[in-house]
């Protein structure tokens, strides 16, 4: 078995000795490369504290943290090297942002990780585009809204292009569409090779996105592994002060009504719908088009159009082409197809295969739309 990206052994930590219980207590965790990991827990469960252990900001009182199989070396130089690869973005953007203008702040992180001056300009532009803040480069931070600051803070983390991106509550305080955009950006970043770990208490988000979840409660880890198994144990969900995701309870109800097995667990609305779709239903086709550098010709298509990926988004925005689903498009297109209509999904070349297999994996739930 491959060496885990992060591994902790009997990790224990408290901020000061007067605490009634340690902030982290005997945590054994192994997060593998490329796995979409979510740390789930109520407020004060120790999510952020755990993250600060992973990039060496806090040193455990007991136990070890291993990165790529080697225990973290807490000497200053190796910490710098570690943090070049492992980037943590904290929850509150006002704590994260140090500079007075947007571009200065993103450049701050880039300089710290030793990025060359020549490519900083492009990195800033790209990162701001990814979070939908392209026009705000020169703005002073004090003049943009809280939600926009959150996006700038995320852009700061995206820009340094780390090997591991750790995001503390990336969608907290963002409205639903912006959350979708941010999650889409995170999705693409993770598909293209960065390991992403996020923390959240939004169970719907965690359930839909995670490959693996790590559930913390009062500093102890009470579950690690595949999400379905955790949520099927109502008692432990409740004791972790969490809730049951919508898709999970809808599925479990419908299954008990029809007397079917709850597994495989559908995690998104589209998967739920796919599962309950009668076998004789007419399903539309998804035309998956890989966008390259040129503007796609959409002249004669009269289907609904979705776009996914930075490149595609940029192409469509620059050329002003009409789009029906410009956020969360994969989900929307699948639902549209399941309702019997044909749709077109434009997406970036580099993520197209992944999207393709994601759509095809619907076949485990029932009838899946054909991809052409």
């Amino acid at each position: 078995m491959a060496v885990p990206l992060f591994e902790t052994e009997n990790l224990e930590f408290s901020y000061n000795s007067r605490q009634s219980r340690p902030s982290l207590d005997n945590i054994n965790i192994a997060i593998h490369k490329g796995v979409r990991a979510v740390v789930l827990g109520a407020n004060g469960a120790g999510k952020s504290t755990l993250f600060y252990q992973l990039n060496g900001v806090l040193k455990p009182k007991k136990g070890v943290v291993k990165y790529n199989g080697k225990p973290i070396d807490y000497s200053q130089n190796s910490l710098y090297a570690l943090r070049n690869e492992v980037c943590v973005a904290v929850q509150n953007p006002d704590e994260q942002i140090f500079s007075v203008t947007v571009e200065e702040d993103i450049a701050f992180g880039l300089f710290n990780t030793g990025v060359h001056r020549e490519i900083i300009d492009k990195s800033i532009d790209d990162a701001l585009f990814k979070v939908g803040m392209a026009g705000y480069r020169k703005k002073p931070v004090s003049q943009i809204s809280k939600g926009q600051r959150k996006r700038v803070a995320l852009a700061g983390a995206f820009a340094v292009n780390p090997k591991v991106l750790i995001l503390d509550e990336p969608t907290a305080g963002l409205d639903p569409q912006t959350s979708c955009e941010v999650m889409e950006a995170i999705d693409q970043i993770s598909i293209t090779g960065t390991s992403v770990i996020i923390s959240t208490h939004d169970v719907d988000l965690a359930y839909a996105w995670a490959d693996e979840i790590y559930v913390l409660k009062n500093g102890k880890m009470i579950y690690s592994g595949e999400p379905g198994a955790f949520f099927s144990d109502k008692k432990s969900v409740i004791s972790a002060e969490l809730a049951i995701p919508h898709s999970f309870s809808v599925n479990s109800y419908i299954c008990s009504m029809r007397g079917e097995s709850e597994t495989p667990y559908p995690r998104t609305d589209s998967q739920v719908i796919c599962k309950i779709l009668p076998s004789d239903a007419k399903v539309g086709k998804i035309r998956l088009i890989r966008t390259s550098k040129s503007v796609p010709d959409i002249g004669k298509i009269d289907e609904r159009i979705g776009i996914y990926g930075f490149n595609t988004r940029r192409l469509f925005m620059d050329s002003g082409l009409p789009v029906d689903y410009n956020f969360n498009a994969v989900e929307h297109c699948i639902i549209e197809a399941l309702n019997g209509n044909n749709v077109t999904l434009y997406c970036d070349e580099c993520i197209a295969d992944k999207i393709d297999s994601r759509i095809k994996s619907l076949s485990q739930f029932g009838k899946c739309p054909e991809v052409i």
Binding site: Y52, N55, V57, L58, Y80, R83, N84, C87, V88, A89, V90, N92, D94, E95, Q96, I97, F98, S99, V100, T101, E103, E104, A107, F108, G109, L110, F111, N112, T113, I120, K138, K139, P140, V141, S142, Q143, G156
Partner: protein, 271 residues
């Protein structure tokens, strides 16, 4: 939006924001010095004109009300000073008005009258020039500019951070102020005092909180002890030095030639 935030908006929207902060500073100081080098009344009029032109150019002809109010307040203070200059003339020269009111010996002479005008015009002109500088140069730019003349890094970083956090405090304070209003915290004198004190304590706690978190986040962002700056403001070029020398020479010469050519006492018909 607080006045500081309005000022911030104004400064970052200025047409002169990308000019070299040190250059602007040198130019401003030069004008301020030449303003008081000669005692011609023409000089402050000219510098006032320069100041106003700069102010209008910098703010795209939109001077916010609060700046005008600040200006008005300053003028009031200046007027008081000017009156003091005016009434304390030496009664050996040409006297316009000499009187005793209560214990005050008022003596307005031709010289004191002219001097008062000079002081008044100089102050107004100086103020205008300084405001035009202040509305076109963000504080972080200025501190980074100072860094270019070898003021230590620590000082400039501190100024930048304070500037950033000042706005966080202001925002927070505004929200708490609104919250107190919603909870009727300003209902009567005692309540107002109590509420204000509580807000002050709250801000104090917030600042502690922020400082402790900033340390962790700086580490997360791989801070290495130096605060890098991406867009260094433009350095001071020779142009700025030339412009400053020329403006100094021109105004100084003008001042020397026109010294004593305007006699306000005569114009006003006192003598």
């Amino acid at each position: 939006m607080s006045e500081q935030q309005q000022m911030d908006t104004l400064v970052y929207g200025s047409r002169m924001v990308s000019w070299s902060p040190l250059g602007k500073l040198l130019f401003t100081i030069t004008i301020l010095i030449v303003n008081i080098c000669t005692d011609s009344l023409f000089v402050p009029i000219v510098t006032f004109a320069i100041g106003i032109v700069m102010l209008f150019y910098s703010t795209v002809c939109k001077i916010p009300k609060f700046i005008l109010l600040a200006l008005l307040g300053a003028i009031l203070i200046i007027v008081i000073g000017v009156i003091m200059v005016l009434i304390t003339g030496n009664d050996e020269s040409c006297v316009i008005w000499d009187d005793h009111i209560l214990w005050l010996h008022i003596c307005v002479t031709e010289i004191s009258f002219n001097k008062a005008w000079l002081v008044f015009l100089r102050s107004i002109a100086g103020m205008t020039v300084m405001i035009s500088f202040a509305t076109s140069t963000p504080v972080p730019h200025l501190s980074q500019g100072l860094n270019q003349i070898h003021v230590p890094n620590e000082v400039t970083e501190l100024i930048t951070l304070i500037y950033r956090y000042a706005f966080l405090f202001l925002e927070r304070m505004e929200i708490m102020w609104n919250a107190a209003q919603c909870r009727m915290g300003f209902n009567g004198f005692m309540n107002t005092m109590r509420t204000t004190a509580t807000i002050a304590v709250g801000m104090f706690i917030t600042s502690f909180d922020m400082a402790s978190k900033a340390q962790i986040v700086l580490e997360c962002r791989n801070y290495r002890g130096v605060f890098p700056v991406y867009n260094m403001p433009a350095k001071m070029s020779v142009k700025w030095i030339l412009a400053s020398v020329i403006i100094f020479a021109a105004i100084f010469v003008l001042g020397c030639y026109t010294s004593n050519t305007i006699n306000m006492a005569k114009i006003c018909g006192f003598i």
